[in-house]
């Protein structure tokens, strides 16, 4: 087959997003298609896996194989897929609730397992799809119907968790900058092992003040740290709306138990001989 040159638009499916006008996720969708075009990915050899939420609706809008699974469970599905089909480029994606609340355990263990998957988390610090409940990244004083006086809880520093748990590539980006975002996504896909990109992606409906992120975000000010410790420093004490690549590790990706662990069928059957 001769290689086909595809434009970003070729990576869009025909399905119209259900998102609110102005939702940050449109920018993410656009950036993904740009990144795919840049990497010349073949749609048939690319798979995008998500959970449930506004953000998690993305796969259907992308021209690639997709799986819109269960709330919180995108990463196990992506893990099984990538391990069984190492030939595919596999991305996982979803919202802050999907990945850090109900999906928190898989997030932590996926970082540790370091399978070659790229994770995009559209962080809007709210549950969009269920209409405005606090997520693990919601500010403690943000009022919601559930907690009119705020949650009083410290937001989860998910990137710090990612670093500590072993993610091999960590970046923070902004949906309002689809070109920068596209570059980061392309870089993450190319980087071996488990990559985490936290995307500041405004929910204009339940967090209208996030429209202001476009003025607040410090674009591309971060550069890969020299050590995990340094990267940790950046995500724990640095400005929280600063974007850029934070960490590029060199852990070899996990691909399974390895041949040495195998036993041939003959030998196994011998074991049954009475």
């Amino acid at each position: 087959m001769t290689e086909q040159i595809r434009k970003p638009a070729d990576y869009k499916s025909a399905i119209k997003p259900i998102w609110c006008p102005g939702c940050g996720d449109y920018g993410v969708l656009s950036a993904i298609t740009k990144a795919f075009a840049k990497l010349r990915l073949e749609p048939e050899n690319t798979a995008v896996v998500s959970g449930i939420g506004c953000a998690a609706r993305i796969p259907a809008y992308i021209n690639a194989y997709g799986f819109h699974g269960l709330h919180g469970r995108a990463l196990p599905i992506a893990t099984g897929l990538k391990l069984a089909r190492p030939d595919l480029t596999v991305l996982a994606m979803g919202g802050d609730g999907d990945m850090y609340s109900i999906g928190g355990n898989h997030f932590m263990h996926a970082c540790r397992r370091n399978v070659d998957i790229t994770l995009l988390v559209m962080d809007n610090r709210i549950y969009g799809m269920t209409k405005g409940q606090p997520s693990p990244t919601t500010e403690p004083d943000f009022p919601t119907h559930l907690y009119p006086d705020g949650t009083h809880l410290q937001p989860l520093n998910a990137l710090a968790i990612a670093l500590v748990a072993g993610a091999n590539f960590v970046a923070r980006t902004f949906s309002g900058d689809p070109n920068g975002l596209a570059e980061d996504i392309a870089m993450a896909i190319n980087h071996p092992g488990f990559s985490v990109i936290e995307i500041l992606s405004p929910c204009v409906t339940f967090r209208p003040e996030q429209r202001d992120w476009k003025h607040q975000v410090q674009r591309n000010v971060l550069t890969p740290a020299a050590s995990v410790a340094e990267a940790l420093q950046v995500v724990t004490t640095g400005p929280e709306l600063a974007t850029g690549v934070i960490w590029k590790g060199d852990r070899p990706p996990y691909e399974g138990p390895g041949e040495k662990a195998g036993i041939a069928l003959d030998r196994l059957l011998e074991g049954f001989a009475a």
Binding site: A60, Y65, G66, G69, R73, G80, A84, R85, L268
Partner: protein, 576 residues
């Protein structure tokens, strides 16, 4: 001593604190197999991880056996510590003998009441010479009493301890011989097995968990993800190196939510995929199973049932995950439920579960239980079943949008695997239309619900849905490991002149209504047997099938299995 006892001998070896009673049992089983006998071994253990009280429950016979006899002829009790923890599982036969230490103390009441002879041996003294362990002494004594050749025992010891060095083999063999000689002096208590049929072909010693793993492997499973849980862990431990050896792999997931979703992901990618668990894990997989049903992803879950509810009794058996296996998902999520009927059948039914799951693009639950999962059984080397994972896929797509969930005649829609050009689609657990696009429309919902249902309901499952034998107006129906007792009891009933039709279901869902009702034609009384407190199987039968006028049920909870004697009594009553 009745004739039966010579064709089949049962004994228990119990002791506490790492007395090695399981090893003694294994040696006896290996020796019996060598000598041409059939047999089985289960273990009853306390809650301790290691040491603690344990009993090796054994049956040796001249014919293939799938279930314990009703009662034990010999009880070898190294001591009586915490014996009451499993005394409920050890009924002594009439005329049973109890062998114990000279100073093991008073017999537990239940034992004292039923034993007809108590032989107290100076165990310590007997071990002085060889400095061996009491379990080898027991193996020798019981070997002698049951008439196993001394050489077969020695051979078993040599093989069993081969990796542990010569010294141990020698000491153990010598101790066994001391026991064998000691047995000679007790020959008036002999429970000698009749000579075995001439052995034709190789024999295996295998348990249901290994058999299930083997079934999965032969069907072509390439990916497994699982979280350890008693009593399913042996499946994983057997499968992991086996899958790697076959070019696949097993992943230990962080939890059961991850395991079910990992295999869904692998299967979406085209790899026949499986997990194994027990009740608590199955409960955690319910949501994932629903996704597999909705998104039409084949996956197989082996559930090795244990005592419930909740954490329950992890090391003991029961048939009480039927409810959750059949009805444990929210919404309507048609799926396959199969149940192995014996240790050997674990190979075939697991392979069939994988085969059907792939064929019908639906999740399959294959039910086993602790009893058969951990029962070591002597059997003729089986032919491996020719049931493979074969999925309908599409090779490529044209201009038209690919309809992943097309409403085909069979209800099965050819699946595009990632890598297939032009067929890109998004699998979805949201309701969707034929092209996999999410839809909340009444019409799409109705069409897809129906499609998912009829692809299972209309499929022709052939004859393997149940094992049926016998004739007459009295039918006995059961499932799972209880089949062993039912088969044995039916045989005895026939011998006693009671005609019994025996039905053992292998395919529980989709229910084979027409077939079962045909099998029940002419039946006046139906006796339903199961190992559960509440009668889940009986309720299942009532809800899906039109049953004969006269329905009787017999069930009690684990850890005591339903025995052939109980079944026979129930048959007698039903027949009278």
């Amino acid at each position: 001593m009745s004739q039966t006892s010579l064709n089949s001998v049962s004994f228990a070896i119990s002791g506490s604190g790492g007395a090695g009673v399981m090893t003694a049992g294994e040696i006896l089983l290996m020796a019996a197999a060598k000598a041409g006998y059939y047999g089985l071994q289960t273990r009853s253990v306390g809650p301790q991880i290691r040491g603690g009280e344990a009993a090796s429950l054994m049956r040796l016979a001249t014919f293939p056996v799938h279930v314990h006899a009703d009662a034990f002829h010999i009880l070898f009790a190294v001591d009586w510590l915490n014996f009451d923890r499993f005394s409920g599982e050890i009924d002594l036969a009439e005329g049973a003998i109890v062998i114990t230490g000279k100073d093991s103390g008073e017999l537990p009441e239940k034992v004292a009441q039923t034993a007809s002879d108590v032989i107290r041996l100076p165990l310590h003294d007997l071990l002085k010479e060889t400095k061996g362990r009491v379990n080898m002494l027991a193996a020798g004594i019981i070997g002698r009493l049951t008439g196993l050749p001394e050489d077969a025992l020695a051979d078993a010891i040599a093989r069993r301890f081969a990796s542990k060095g010569n010294a141990l083999v020698e000491i153990s063999t010598a101790t066994m011989r001391t026991g064998y000689a000691q047995g000679e002096k007790l020959l008036n208590h002999e429970q000698r097995l009749a000579p075995p049929e001439p052995r034709n072909g190789e024999r295996w010693i295998i348990n249901g968990n290994e058999a299930a793993g083997l079934g999965a492997l032969t069907a072509g499973v390439k990916f497994a993800a699982a979280y350890p849980i008693t009593p399913a862990t042996e499946i994983l431990e057997w499968l992991s190196p086996a899958l790697t050896g076959a070019g696949g792999m097993l992943i230990q997931a962080e939890d059961e939510l991850a395991s079910i979703n990992m295999i869904i992901g692998a299967s979406f990618g085209g790899a026949p995929a499986l997990t194994a668990t027990s009740g608590p894990g199955l409960a955690l997989m319910a949501e994932g199973l629903g996704l597999a049903a909705a998104a039409e992803i084949p996956v197989t879950v082996i559930d090795v049932q244990r005592g419930g509810p909740s954490t329950g009794i992890p090391t003991k058996s029961e048939q009480t995950d039927l409810d959750i296996a059949l009805c444990g998902m929210h919404g309507e999520a048609p799926h396959l439920v199969l149940a192995a009927t014996s240790v050997a059948d674990c190979i075939r039914t697991t392979a069939w579960a994988v085969h059907l799951s792939e064929r019908l693009q639906a999740p399959a639950i294959m039910l086993s239980d602790q009893m058969m999962g951990q029962m070591k059984t002597i059997m003729p080397r089986p032919d491996l079943p020719d049931l493979k994972a074969e999925r309908e896929t599409v090779a490529s797509c044209g201009e038209e949008d690919y309809a992943r969930y097309a409403l085909t005649n069979s209800g099965v829609s050819p699946m595009a695997l990632p890598g297939t050009p032009g067929c890109m689609y998004t699998a979805d657990g949201l309701e969707h239309d034929e092209r996999a696009i999410p839809s909340t429309r009444v019409e799409d919902h109705a069409a897809q619900l129906k499609k998912r249902w009829r692809k299972l309901a209309d499929f022709d499952y052939g004859n393997a849905w149940a094992d049926i034998s016998g004739e007459g107006p009295l039918a006995v129906i059961t499932w799972g490991s209880t089949a062993g007792a039912v088969e044995e009891a039916s045989r005895e009933a026939e011998e006693a002149g009671i005609r019994v039709r025996t039905i053992v279901l292998r395919l529980l869902s989709p229910p084979q209504k027409a077939k079962l009702e045909a099998a029940l034609e002419g039946v006046e009384t139906l006796l339903i047997l199961e190992n559960s407190f509440s009668g889940q199987f009986a309720r299942y039968l009532r809800s899906f099938f039109t049953l004969p006028e006269n329905v009787r049920t017999f069930h009690h909870p684990g850890p005591r299995p339903v025995t052939a004697r109980e079944v026979l009594e129930a048959i007698r009553e039903a027949a009278s």
